[in-house]
Symmetry: C2
């Protein structure tokens, strides 16, 4: 494995004072339902609205002056886009982001507001990799992958680092950690940090059904892709298959993968609004959904879960509230 | 002044690991609008949904074994109720709370779920002080005031203590702090902490119009009451007049009081949902509303504001979203 705890410690020093040390809160109602102690990492409160800022900043902060002048290129369904755009603005370099035309409006608008140039593409007909690689080539810009990159993974791993530290501040020890999983960067980075500091903690990734490539790959022992055209409301978790660099790490360190339905995700978004008092996007809510749906026995255990993003479009958010609360 | 920085430091040690060290986040959009740097203390993420848990826990943790056996009594529109109920449960003592019949449903339900006994009263026809005092007398229980108590104020002051520390972690110095104000406990406690650590910081309290007793009292140089029957959607900020113990502190340390309309509060609640990604109750949003309404020139200044509570009923929250977003 080419990602070590030292990389994550170094990333933590780089992002200190720039990224938010998001709180790890205990939710009484969630603990009651799980029958154990459940701690929730509110990473949707990160700058840019998701953990993606950590990895992007860690990557961009290591570029040379020459590379900074030429700028960066990324492809993203929206959260990595905002993370890269914000990091690029803070570090004073141009950013170009290839984004699907059906990305949530809030993600496209925020990315543009952060000063990045947006190149739209059609998710079903075009290759984002091809478009981004071509832009990087012509502009001699640096391509910043959204997960398959060790500096990016190291930045995301600071979430896991913080979780262990914040759990120790409560004089507690973690039994289980649940991590939302798309390409696997947050999962891999956090797993390296957590296993280094707390070897007895078991880590599970959580994915939407039909897009549970990592869970199926872990079970099969090799990388399996999702069916083309597989859809979920979890727009942030629609990576086609596990990353070539993230998967070996996850294979070595995870205890398995859990799967939740879109309906369970909506229920978790509503719970987050009512009990955690936060706005959560669908992809950010999958680990919470797994706990609420009792996907794993957590009785008498200490569990931490990551709520990883908050960039949800207003109409979806309101329809979620309307459906859950009827006419009250 | 009988509230010192040492009291607040001691309170911080008492609540460490029990209360959440809520994050101080920079909101890019808010900073852009203010033309300066604006940091937001997300205190609605505190246990019990508001800063009130800090003061309640600090007070209850200092009770004797004998007092704990007899339990505590409080009156509250809902946030102090939850803070006292939670602190009492954690410290193993019974709690009775006198609450107005028109308190938000979420506040009454949460207080009951935390195991407290609720005694309802009519806000316009009965005296909560009389009812609570009588209960305390017959049960030989300890009365826990919601603001006019130095141990309670010291607990609330840990919010100010954290704000200064978290601002320094960003290598920045505070010019202005804005604090939501009802009875004045959060304001007084935070002001003592902030002025001790950062004498050059100016502090303003923020209140709803028609319930701006502290702003008018500061201007007049003596305690003035609100008109009986004065109403606002800010249910948490409807104290009849400044506290006898809080006001002298606020008079000595504040630069003045700001006032916002209910309409501006709704706008701030919507901003919090869209940009801070948090649920905020009306009373918790007044300081944010003051910044958005440009009540104070903040250009090129470093400002911190407290978002102090998140306990809002679902129908009010949804109608706020519906009104702000039309049919989008």
């Amino acid at each position: 494995v080419n990602l070590t705890f030292d990389h994550i410690s170094a990333a933590a020093r780089r992002i200190a004072g720039v990224a938010v040390r998001t709180p790890l809160v205990e939710c009484e109602e969630l603990s009651r339902r799980a029958g154990g102690r459940v701690l929730v990492k509110l990473e949707g409160l990160q700058r840019g609205g998701s953990f993606k800022f950590r990895g992007a900043y860690n990557r961009l902060a290591q570029l040379t002056d020459d590379e900074r002048t030429r700028g960066v290129v990324a492809w993203s369904s929206g959260n990595h886009a905002q993370g890269v755009a914000l990091a690029a603005r803070l570090l004073g370099m141009p950013a170009t982001i290839v984004m699907p035309r059906d990305a949530p409006v809030v993600k496209t608008e925020n990315t543009r507001a952060l000063g990045a140039e947006i190149v739209p593409y059609d998710r079903d007909r075009e290759s984002r990799e091809t478009i981004a690689t071509e832009i990087a080539r012509t502009r001699r810009a640096v391509l910043v992958p959204s997960y398959d990159d060790y500096a990016v993974m190291a930045g995301q791993g600071t979430v896991g680092l913080e979780i262990v530290g914040q759990t120790r501040e409560r004089s507690s020890t973690l039994d289980v950690v649940l991590v939302p999983c798309g390409g696997g960067g947050l999962t891999a980075g956090s797993a390296v940090a957590i296993k280094h500091l707390s070897a007895g903690t078991s880590i599970h990734c959580v994915e939407p059904e039909r897009c549970n490539d990592t869970a199926r790959s872990l079970a099969a022992g090799r990388r399996l892709a999702n069916d083309p055209g597989s859809r979920s409301i979890c727009d942030a978790l629609l990576a086609p298959e596990p990353g070539a660099l993230t998967f070996p790490i996850n294979q070595a360190l995870l205890s398995g993968g859990l799967t939740v339905t879109d309906e369970e995700v909506l229920e978790a978004m509503h719970f987050a609004c009512s009990h955690l008092k936060i706005v959560v996007e669908p992809g950010g809510a999958v680990a919470l959904a797994a706990v609420l749906a009792n996907r794993l026995p957590l009785r008498d255990r200490v569990t931490a879960l990551i709520v990883s993003g908050s960039n949800v479009d207003a109409p979806l958010f309101r329809s979620m509230l309307d459906r859950r609360e009827g006419s009250t």
